[in-house]
Amino acid sequence: MDLKEWFANRKKAADNSQSKQPLTNEEYCALWTQCFHCRELLYTRDLRSNLFVCPKCQYHFRIGAVDRIEQLADPGCFQEMDADLSSADPLGFVDTDAYKNRQDEASRKSGLKEAVVCGTGKIRGRDAAIGIMDFGHFGGSMGSVVGEKVTRLVEHALKHSLPLIVISSSGGARMQEGILSLMQMAKTSSALKSFSDAGLLYISVLSEPTFGGVTASFAMLGDFIIAEPGARIGFAGRRVIEQTIKQKLPADFQTAEYLLNHGQVDMVIERAKLADALGALIDLHQPSAPPKHSDAKDKSKQKVAAQSTPTRA
């Protein structure tokens, strides 16, 4: 399957799955989408061309991995990695339905095999290793496949001295894989430790929503952390906290802006400016002068670059 085909397939699935918000219904939202925040009725095609940001109130809709790649990576340069990894059912988990069935349903709805898409690409002309989570697949939950793919992405970035960008969106760990899903937090964080020790740059982008085991592992370990406006980010869910402390939480609790005020993220930036910011950040962390004895590394970088199309800049 070539890239073009890949994108076409993904987009087809994506059109069915993206930008669903509680207030819309499936048939209706193919053409029209009601803004979750200001309730404006938006023509879905316009919404898409505005990067799934409400033109009226700037509400940032959830977007899937495929749309995100299109928005972020320079056109035609994204090379997916480990696309064929799929979930096992190590515990033979059955609740009101079997995990196996739930997996199939998740894939049918999202058009994805798993809740993260990883690969290499260019962002505003700079090579990067990119991981993008998709909340539309199984609530973006992290099981063995998400853990493994993110870990491999980190390892690839380390091997090729690439900056690493992960865009998170997740409800947390995937309970159906039990302790194995919990351990993915350790696995990804451990890989990031080696990556960090090598002095390489990791930018974590938090999008609506990012919670639980993903927040408490790779999502919070960025050298620089960016959040999308309005995104809800935390460890424990709002409802659980309210039940525990038996009081109402402030409306803006756990929003990107709240986190910024509480020192947890470096920047809240609107979607339209995200690629520029990522590009600028990669630049600011690249050595001014070429480091000594780096011939080998430079060559490996060139190889990756050769596979990709020219950038738009």
């Binding site: 799929s86 870990t151 039990g178 424990a236 609790f253």
Partner: protein, 326 residues
Amino acid sequence: MAHTDRKQVPLEFEQPLQALAQQIENLEKQLADNPAIESDLARLHEQYDLLRRSLYSKLRPIDHLELARHKQRPYTRDYFERWDSEWIEMHGDRKGADDPAMVLGLLRIGGHKVVGIGTQKGRSLRDKQQCNFGMPQPEGYRKALRGIRHAEKFNLPIVTLIDTPGAYPGMAAEEHNQAEAIAVNLMELAGVTVPVVAVVTGEGGSGGALAIGVANRILMLEHSVYSVISPEGCASILWRSPDKVSEACQAMKMTAKELLQLGVVDEVIDEPLGGAHNDYDTVATNAKMGLIRHLDNLRNLNRSQLREDRQKKFRNIGAFYEPAAV
């Protein structure tokens, strides 16, 4: 300090024992007047022991959960005191808080000088409240981090004891970024070049447990549990019913034996019959012997090998399908 459980409120699965215990008690009262019943009494004692053994040989996951949460279960301080009566406690995160739910100290375990880190649930009501029922705040994880860095600096092995429902779902905890506190611990524990051995002594609850659980070797006490979410949470999310806790326990595979089979846990440590709360000294000794065995064993690795060993352990955890490469 040995506790006998018989007189206490029984666990749910122990209820069959209660009838027998009642009979024994009655007979014991009559024994002075009627020495003839001595043999009956002996038989009942035997039956009691048999039944108890039988009950404990076929515990359901939820029974383990009850034992793991037993309010008389030994906690971190009980172990540290027994392992080294002169252990020295370290307090605080140096930044404004000393979380009693996370205990930190320097101690000897056999011939090993170690940094000990463990969650603490609290015994009296006041203790429990102070310890927030064993749920550390971000400041607690950062206190643990201080211990982790201390161990790395002084090349001391790290021993962690895990018994926590998890991180606390509170407002301040979120404000103070408990997600970051946990994540940083995962990362830093993965990176240290000293031996790390973790023991799940009671409840291993989610990310809050893992925050001190990234170890070269993970041991579990026989009746301890370790899971990605509390069974109650799992039941209410997946079954949408709080009644399904037993099913959730079963489905998640959270007992020591199951996690040993899954390859996540390296050894199961025996508890005295009836659970750790029946005999603190014995369980402390069992855990100590296990720790010494693994610490001795890890001594054969040099510092970078210790890190590699640990990172490899977690690198290999996970189950997925991958088509063979073309």
